[in-house]
């Protein structure tokens, strides 16, 4: 039996003639490298910080043998924050990758369909008008976001079918309107309340704790698994819808599943830590460039998203000596600059 030359280095797992799994070598190497970097960064972040704990003590606490203070800081404060950053970074990146693939446009991210603006509106209503606590804010954000997505989809679908272009346009319109509502709500609050609300709106990992991380992780794993299962069908669809249909794939079902998973992931992230910008937009693009893939590259996207958000959070906590910053400020600044560069470059080349 001849071995197929796929034009790219490929790892074959299993028997030579009938391999169990084919992995793109470049992608696999990249993922391995990125996750290693993430683990190293996570370790460093867990064992260093302003609380005056030596790495040895920190390690002991992680293994369950620390004193009360060290355990509190390392295990209950730092660890959940790091885990959340890695997890949500991956979720955001995968959500972005799915949306970009669905809309066949590198700028088509969940941010564009107004989901994040809608969830900010929901959160603002709860925080400033109703005065609720953390759980209420999460519920408000989820409701606002999902309602907005539902409205955008309902308005964008024509005779039951959703067109990519129309979706983006309706999303932009609804998003712009909700942004005005947000400005208005912030205007009527006191300055301190407005600042507090904008901290949420920037995307903020402060106050992370295990009771919040564990359910989020459980739910997100469901979505992540679903995304992994969708990877191959979506790649096939990318070749062409007639091609995919000819292969017996239910394209409509795949697309709907991808939308549900994409929205689920972004909903989860936005509800728990607020709208973190640019990870969903930038991570899949960076992944595509590094792997030199044609389209969907879920694994590398997740890896880059995780590393990106963790890095941003570490920087956000340590950048200003007087005060930590919300992680969203850092992702916006880094992501924004990267984005400008991307836009300018795309405009010039090709």
């Amino acid at each position: 039996m001849t071995t197929l030359d796929l034009g790219r280095p490929v790892l074959r797992l299993g028997r030579a003639g009938r391999p169990l799994l084919l992995l793109d070598a470049r992608s696999a190497a990249l993922c391995a490298g990125l996750w290693t970097a993430t683990v190293l960064l996570a370790g460093w972040a867990a064992l260093s910080g302003a609380a005056g704990i030596t790495p040895a003590d920190g390690l002991a606490a992680l293994l369950g043998r620390g004193d009360e203070y060290t355990t509190m800081v390392v295990v209950e404060w730092r660890a959940p924050r790091i885990v959340m950053a890695v997890l949500l970074g991956a979720c955001l990146a995968i959500s972005g990758a799915l949306f970009q693939n669905l809309t066949a446009n590198p700028l088509g991210s969940p941010d564009v369909i107004g989901f994040q603006t809608g969830s900010y509106t929901g959160a603002l209503v709860v925080m400033l008008l109703l005065g609720g606590g953390t759980a209420a804010v999460i519920t408000g954000a989820l409701t606002g976001g999902l309602l907005t997505a539902a409205i955008v989809f309902a308005l964008a679908s024509r005779r039951g079918a959703v067109r990519g272009v129309r979706l983006i346009i309706v999303g932009i319109g609804v998003s712009a309107m909700l942004a005005s509502v947000n400005v208005w709500i912030l205007l009527t609050a006191t300055v301190e309340d407005a600042i507090m609300a904008s901290l949420w709106g920037a995307g903020n990992l402060s106050g992370m704790s295990w009771p919040l991380v564990v359910p989020t992780a459980t739910v997100s794993i469901v979505f992540l698994v679903a995304a992994a299962l969708l990877a191959r069908p979506m790649k096939v669809t990318q070749v062409g819808i007639p091609f995919a249909t000819a292969l017996g794939q239910n394209v409509r079902a795949v697309q709907i599943a991808a939308i549900v998973v994409g929205i689920g992931l972004i909903a989860l992230s936005t509800a728990t830590v607020g709208p973190v910008s640019f990870v969903a937009l930038a991570a899949p693009q960076i992944a595509r460039r590094l792997v030199r893939a044609d389209g969907l590259a879920l694994g590398p996207s997740a890896a880059i998203g995780a590393l990106l958000l963790l890095l941003a959070d570490v920087i956000a906590q340590r950048l200003d000596p007087d005060s930590p910053l919300p992680v969203g400020i850092v992702t916006v600044s880094i992501g924004g600059i990267y984005f400008l560069w991307l836009l300018i470059r795309e405009g010039r080349t090709r």
């Binding site: 446009n105 990519g164 272009v165 346009i169 319109g173 942004a179 005005s180 400005v183 924004g336 405009g347």
Partner: protein, 358 residues
């Protein structure tokens, strides 16, 4: 990439909604000129509303008397001259500027879903004002104007530079997305600065939704020449834009230079969007609505669209501003009211379009 690239036929579909209609109804062409009169009347009504409606109820007779016989000692007279008249002039100028800027943007990008707000021009203006307040110690309200003018102009140039080079020329959606992305980036930078300089937040909050209050007439008149220059350039470019709407290849075949046309129109857009944002703050949706309403009324001819936009946009802005003045005890910023009016209309527009794609 099939779903995001539109063939020339579809693009024309987007931009020239009424092409078939005018062909089958030649009487519309004749009636176009007559339509200007009712539109002008509506505009006049809206401007009168702007003069007569306000937080303080003043009888129309009083307003007229005060306008014609200014008396610095009389409270009502001062109110009319320092609030009603400047705001009405501002509505007229900013409205016209926004309407024509939107029409130009839509013509150049061949996408009826663009306006200065969507394309990130407003975010650029806000960022410039925030930067001025935070880092350059700007404190005077009149200085807001020049900073936001500069910010809006630079952003317009940037969006078009990014959007009209490379493959975006053939893809109107890409330009819109580039604008949206740039707008998001710039407003992200604004938030980053605002978060670290909270005293700036307090002063920016009111301006950032667009407001016609407290803008002295002299300041508005300082910006007026730029807006008028932009309007003139726009008026002179209408024929070239008609040619451009047929597609780059067709335009070149007809002897036009697409890039040169775009460059000139870009200057006009920068002046108009910059001037409007400088005078009244970031106001969205006017540039979107006015040209579309104009197109529905007079068809795809750029000249007519602009003429009608000049009348329709101040009408909408005036009505929105008047509404904002009376809705609550303090006023609702006009940018918030236009968003509430504009978004449903935008959605309605989208559903009407015959956008077809694979």
């Amino acid at each position: 990439m099939a779903s995001s690239q539109l063939s020339p036929a579809e693009t024309r579909d987007l931009a020239s909604d009424g092409a078939e209609e005018t062909g089958h109804r030649p009487d519309l062409l004749r009636r176009r000129r007559l339509l200007l009169f009712p539109l002008a009347l509506l505009c006049l009504i809206a401007l009168c509303a702007s003069m007569l409606v306000g937080s303080r109820p003043i009888p129309p007779a009083e307003v007229l008397r005060a306008a014609l016989h200014p008396d610095p000692a009389d409270e009502i007279s001062q109110l009319v001259h320092l609030s009603r008249i400047p705001r009405t002039v501002l509505v007229l100028l900013a409205g016209a500027a926004l309407g024509v800027a939107g029409a130009l943007m839509q013509a150049v990008t061949r996408n009826p879903m663009t306006d200065p707000g969507i394309l990130g021009v407003n975010s650029g203006a806000s960022l410039a004002v925030v930067t001025g307040l935070a880092f350059f110690g700007m404190s005077d309200i009149s200085q807001y104007m020049w900073w936001s003018f500069a910010g809006a102009m630079v952003t317009s140039v940037l969006v078009f530079a990014i959007g009209t080079t490379g493959p975006a020329r053939g893809n109107p959606i890409r330009m819109t997305l580039a604008g949206v992305a740039l707008g998001a980036v710039l407003s992200g930078f604004s938030s980053a600065v605002l978060f670290t300089h909270s005293e700036v937040l307090e002063r920016m909050r009111g301006w950032s939704a667009g407001t016609t209050a407290s803008q002295p007439l002299e300041a508005t008149l300082q910006i007026a020449p730029f807006i008028l220059l932009g309007l003139v350039i726009a008026a002179l470019s209408t024929r070239a834009l008609d040619v451009l709407s047929l597609g780059d290849a067709a335009a070149v075949a007809m002897g036009a230079h697409p890039q040169r046309i775009r460059a000139v129109v870009l200057v006009a857009i920068a002046l108009l969007a910059g001037g409007a944002t400088a005078a009244a703050g970031p106001i969205g949706f006017i540039g979107l609505l006015a040209p579309h309403l104009a197109r529905m009324v007079v068809g795809p001819h750029q000249g007519w669209i602009m003429a009608c936009s000049v009348l329709i946009a101040p009408t909408v802005l005036g009505l929105a501003d008047s509404l904002g003045r009376v809705l609550t005890a303090g006023e609702v910023p006009v940018g918030v009211v236009t968003a509430f009016i504009g978004a449903p209309v935008l959605i309605g527009m989208v559903r009407r379009f015959r956008v077809s794609e694979a």
